[in-house]
Amino acid sequence: MASKRTHILPGFGLTLGYTLVYLGFIVLIPLGALFLRAARMSPAEFWKIAISPRALASYEVTFGSAFIAALINAAMGTLLAWVIVRYRFPGRRLLDALIDFPFALPTAVAGLTLANLFAAKGWLGRWLVPLGIEVAYAPAGIVVALIFIGLPFVVRSLQPVLEDIEGEVEEAAATLGAGRFRTFFTVILPALAPSILTGFSLAFARAIGEYGSVIFIAPKESEIASQLIWYRLEEYDYAGAVAIAVVMLVISFVLLISINGIERWASRFQR
């Protein structure tokens, strides 16, 4: 007799079918339309737009800033999660709640606030600008905005894993002679690595897609790809907009797939 796996809750076929149709409408059809639109161009035409100096510069700004912001978020998010999970102090719950703030705040508000804060006459800008540190309307501003919007991801991916680490493991390392740094870097950090990477890739993906906050703080001379797409649309240059969009899509996809691969490698001990 053929063995059939039984589930407590039936309906695998129905739910899978529904999921696929839904995903199709929400994700695949719009993306497919984008590719179809791009296919109207000849490869040479497409390529010319895709690697024009201005487009190349915008990719660099987009991915470069997103990468730097995600890296900083990975490090600082780890620290924040550590403090929230490990220590008990007054205001801890408030701090915990504040972490989610960037999720809820409209990104335009964030961009506007940051631009004002770092402007030459702003609260922070008035101290930083004389020192030669320009954030508002400078490339650094883009990174600051992206750090802000990506903050919750690493913290939230890391919290449950940190809570799960048993104190016994640290004690075991100590009885074997390991000092604090060694225990942290050889025992704890590797256990956290998969979650840090997950948080990193989420923050990175979010930062690549960010538009609202960046436009308020970005300098004129360095634009992100989304801005370039917007300018092209304003010029009724749909082909130009689509070509850049497709390049963004492909690069993002490849990057996320690679990060996923690294994540699998880092969590090999769990399989």
Partner: protein, 367 residues
Amino acid sequence: MSIELRNVSKRFGQIAAVDSVSFGVGEGELVALLGPSGGGKTTVLRMIAGLEQPTDGDILIRGKRVNDVSVQQRNIGFVFQGYALFKTMSVFDNIAFGLKIKKWPAAERTARVEELLALLELQGLAKRFPHQLSGGQRQRVAIARALAPKPSVLLLDEPFGAVDARIRQELRDWLVHLHGELSVTTVFVTHDQEEAMEVSNRIVIFGRGRLEQIGAPREVYEQPSNEFVARFIGVLNVLELRVENGAARLHELSFPTHGVAEGSALRIGFRPYAVQISRDLAEYRYRATLQHVYFLGVLLRLELVTPSGLTIRTRITKDDFVRLGLAEGDSLSFNIREYRVLSRDGDALPPEVAAVHQAPSSYADGI
């Protein structure tokens, strides 16, 4: 002395988890710290390791006071109750961890790890990650990891608590064999008196933070120093007697007064094996009916009920049971061959003894 504790106390706020405990463990000894949960035994073990600091008193390892020596420098091997393996490292790397810290050269490290893998029969598992191992294997990896840097003492916290009964027996045998081969000074914590009796050379019994008795398994079983120990080690029947008309009585049973005045109470305890029984109703002084027979394997537990309704529990070997030709419902005669006076009237029970009355049934009611 490999380990020595001198008047060691540990207080958490007002509560004394460990109260002025002194004892020594000889080089190469295998010692059990036994007691009910909350008895302070794990705290003592953790203080020896340096994971807790004593509030008072001195701890010496190989004659050197180690109170101010950090856990990293104490050169102890510690096996945690939950194994605490490093889950991101393979079995090999787990065992090599301590050796790397001690900066052993790579070749010696590999040789040592392989030696331990062989000793603990973990060959072929070197590349596995902890979550791919069974409970018993994880426990053995934890022991191998603790032993790798050649510690001066091996400390184990409830080492066999988290595995099922059959594996637990295997691991006990492991520990005894391992200790025989390496003769490293070993101290382990357990709440299971049978485990302590079976595995250790000597048992240190704790109750409510105080040291109740130290001795070889046989010593603490046959000569318990107080009621706490008597009830904790093995099974003890306790009878509350009252002195009337020149004898201490309970129902039809009567005992000498042991100097207790008329009308006062006397408490005695006896081991199940101290009850003699016979089918010849004239052979012993008391009569009873065999109410229940519980089959335990080699031993059988018998429940006798006297005509007045008093229940007496006893144990008998299977061979004796067959020889006597007993069956449930039989009438027989019995006698209590030896017993121990636990308290005379007016002796207030020390609080830790009172606590044992509520101890989980597995401690004393197992038989």
